[in-house]
């Protein structure tokens, strides 16, 4: 079942079409990567999903019903990229207060905050003020306040920025465990290696439009260039092979990188080398990284999005 269905969502500002007819579906329990260059419209899209902005056009269905921010936002946890907390307020009180805003009773909120503080080894922080915390500690606190009320939909914008590898792993594990418990996670970032590692499903947004949608594996398949790496025992003293089935596009240590021509299959490459009497040590398909795909798709876009008229 889809927890979120977004169809033809539009939001125009006076100088920009921030979000220009974006649609996607989000199945329950998945970890969803929302990718895009700076200024692509990700934040605007997220703000519409969290009920901060009203869309100009289009529809959002939350658990199959039209999204009603007033009630539904208590089921959403949002950690914005530009995050913040009340600097002069005590950490424990603040976490409880933010949970109460999401509809928890004071006792329940206090109990849950304590649980999370124990889990993250933050018990001794309770009476400290936010201004006394380091950036990373603040980040952990922010994460706790985002997921405390067990939201059905969790939106994390660059959740790992400013965290050391140990704390990054801590948060990553929590993200997995929340997804296992049934929460759906929207994960917005520029860090492609994290997306490959964590996400099931991605969409790529550029200039306010969706330009890519699919599972991580599916997207990689879609953008593969039929490149294979073939390891040969005597790769170095083999003359460049001339074959109908493929062309050699590069070498790397003991391997040749070959591109299969249209109409041929990987077995044709193998039989070519077998027929030549070469000993094959390895054979792997080279799939593009998300980073490559991202750059290829977004390349050509001016670094800063140009202002454009919105009369459309």
């Amino acid at each position: 079942m889809d927890i979120l269905q977004v169809s033809h969502l539009k939001k125009y500002f006076s100088t920009q079409r921030a979000v220009d007819s974006i649609s996607f579906n989000l199945s329950k329990g998945s970890i969803f990567g929302l990718l895009g260059p700076n200024g692509a419209g990700k934040t605007t899209l997220i703000r519409m999903i969290t009920g901060i902005f009203y869309p100009d056009e289009g529809e959002i269905l939350f658990e199959g019903r039209p999204f009603a921010p007033k009630n539904d936002i208590t089921f959403i946890g949002y950690m914005p990229e530009e995050r913040g907390l009340y600097k002069k307020m005590k950490i424990g009180e603040q976490a409880v207060y933010l949970a109460q805003l999401k509809g928890l009773s004071k006792q329940e909120a206090t109990r849950k905050v304590k649980e999370w503080f124990i889990k993250f080894e933050m018990q001794s922080w309770w009476n400290k003020k936010v201004e006394d915390l380091s950036k990373g500690m603040g980040q952990k606190l922010q994460f706790v306040t985002t997921v405390l009320h067990e939201p059905k939909l969790i939106i994390l914008d660059e959740p790992f920025s400013g965290l050391d590898p140990v704390n990054s792993n801590l948060i990553k594990d929590e993200i997995y465990s929340l997804a296992r418990k049934g929460s759906t996670i929207i994960f917005s970032t520029h860090r492609m290696e994290q997306v490959e590692e964590i996400c099931d499903h991605i969409i790529l947004v550029n200039k306010g439009q969706k330009i890519l949608d699919g599972s991580v594996a599916g997207v990689k398949q879609q953008f593969k260039e039929n490149l294979f790496s073939i390891g040969l025992e005597q790769a170095n003293n083999t003359p460049p092979a001339i074959a109908k089935a493929f062309e050699v596009v590069g070498t790397k240590e003991d391997s040749l990188i070959v591109k299969i021509r249209d109409g041929y299959r990987s077995n044709d490459v193998l039989s070519h080398f077998i027929n030549e009497g070469q000993n094959i040590t390895s054979f792997t398909e080279i799939l593009p990284s998300l980073n490559d795909i991202f750059i290829r798709l977004v390349e050509g876009t001016p670094l800063a999005r140009q202002f454009q008229p919105t009369t459309a």
């Binding site: 959403i76 949002y78 913040g84 933010l98 999401k102 922010q142």
Partner: protein, 422 residues
């Protein structure tokens, strides 16, 4: 929050220091007088600010050497003819000093002529004037069946205090709202919170929260003042209280001084009279109403400005100007209206919501429905409610967009768009 307690104290301190400085600023002048008439030395008397020197060996060349700051040359005066007398100086007297000197010379001439024509001296005239003070006016506000003792001085003082308090509180708490909104915006907590509550709720929370703090503090001040007054009353000795009672009886019978009443008791009677004249219940009710109304009206505007600007304090100040101007302007109107609380200016300024909280609070102590008819009070209150509903609505629109906008300072045009187009 300590600052809100300290600010009134700071203002009192500021006023007393400036009064003290202005008193210190007066220096003594020593003026040599060359008088062709001969009578001025009998009438121009030296005092703490001017010393007159009538030595015969003074002239316009040597006055400075002999320690005088200026020399005054008075030629022979002719009756019925305008004569010019001159003041020569090395160090200029302040404007105040010259007009003071002019007044003294005019008085000297007058005294001299009265004495010449009637043989009555100034001292004798003054003593007659003092002896003639045997009648005083006591005014009553006509309220149909009952006539209520009124006290112009008390009304003016209370009006000033109420108007000034509203003026100060509007600024103190309005600025607090603006700072709070700016803090939430620059802390970037705003986006976290507006994903839980509506921006309007966040803004109203801020406004109502600070308003409640303000009201609590104000009520604390009232309680403090009342208990201090009661304490002071308890400290007055019993025999004086008896005299006070006698004096009050005498007052009721239309006598100005009761038998065997001391001056201290007279003062107490005067003061309690002052305290009892105004309708405190109505004043307090109106004060709370106009404080809240004016606060909501202006703090919404302050919140809108806080949401529109970035960290930059200067930006905030330049955008604040159009909001602070009407408040300051109302204060000036109030000071003018206090001289004629029933006049046209007062009526209009106390009905229009921009100025009504300050100006109306200045007028109310003069009497409702005497000076301020019920219809004016009602209309003023209704319009103030309508006014703050409008500013809160408009501020909500600006706030909703502004709180999540970073970067360039918005122009008035863009804020107008946020309020009325978006």
């Amino acid at each position: 929050m300590i600052s809100t307690f300290l600010l009134p104290l700071a203002i009192i301190l500021f006023i007393s220091v400036s009064v003290w400085i202005s008193l210190q600023g007066k220096s003594q002048h020593r003026i040599a007088v060359i008088d062709a008439n001969g009578f001025f030395k009998d009438y121009l008397k030296s005092d703490s600010s001017i010393i007159f020197n009538f030595s015969s060996d003074l002239d316009t060349l040597n006055y400075a050497e002999k320690g005088n700051t200026a020399v005054l040359i008075i030629p022979q005066l002719q009756e019925g003819q305008l004569t010019i007398y001159r003041l020569k100086y090395k160090k200029q007297l302040a404007l105040e000093g010259t007009s003071d000197l002019e007044g003294r010379i005019d008085n000297a001439i007058l005294d001299h002529m009265i004495y010449q024509k009637t043989s009555v001296s100034r001292a004798k005239l003054d003593s007659i004037r003092r002896g003639g003070k045997i009648a005083t006016l006591r005014s009553y506000e006509d309220q149909g069946k009952i006539a209520k003792a009124s006290n112009q001085g008390a009304s003016t003082a209370i009006g000033y205090i109420c108007g000034t308090l509203i003026y100060m509180l509007t600024f103190i708490y309005g600025a607090a709202v603006m700072r709070g909104v700016m803090e939430e915006k620059t802390n970037r907590i705003a986006e976290v919170i507006v994903s839980s509550v509506k921006p309007f709720q966040l803004m109203m929370g801020k406004i109502l929260g600070i308003g409640a703090v303000g009201l609590t503090q104000f009520l604390l001040w009232v309680v403090l003042l009342v208990s201090l007054a009661l304490l002071a009353q308890g400290l007055i000795p019993h025999n004086i209280m008896m005299e006070v009672a006698r004096q009050q009886q005498a007052n009721a019978m239309g006598m100005s001084t009761g038998p065997g009443v001391s001056a201290a008791a007279q003062k107490v009677v005067e003061f309690t009279g002052f305290l009892n004249t105004p309708n405190w219940g109505l004043i307090l009710f109106c004060f709370v109403f106009y404080f809240l109304g004016g606060y909501l009206f202006y703090s919404a505007l302050f919140a809108a400005i806080g949401s529109a600007v970035n960290e930059d304090v200067q930006e905030a100040q330049s955008l604040m100007l159009p909001v602070t101007m009407p408040v300051i302007f109302s204060f000036f109107i109030m000071t003018v209206v206090m001289r004629d609380p029933g006049g046209q200016l007062g009526v209009w300024a106390s009905i229009i919501p921009f100025s009504s909280p300050i100006v109306m609070m200045g007028r109310i102590p003069f009497g409702v429905p005497g000076t301020v008819p019920w219809w004016q009070l009602g209309l003023s209150m209704l319009l103030l409610i309508a006014g703050f509903v409008f500013t809160v609505w408009m501020a909500g629109k600006i706030y909703r967009t502004g709180i999540l906008m970073y970067g360039k300072k918005p122009t008035w045009r863009t804020m107008w768009k946020w309020a009325f187009k978006a």
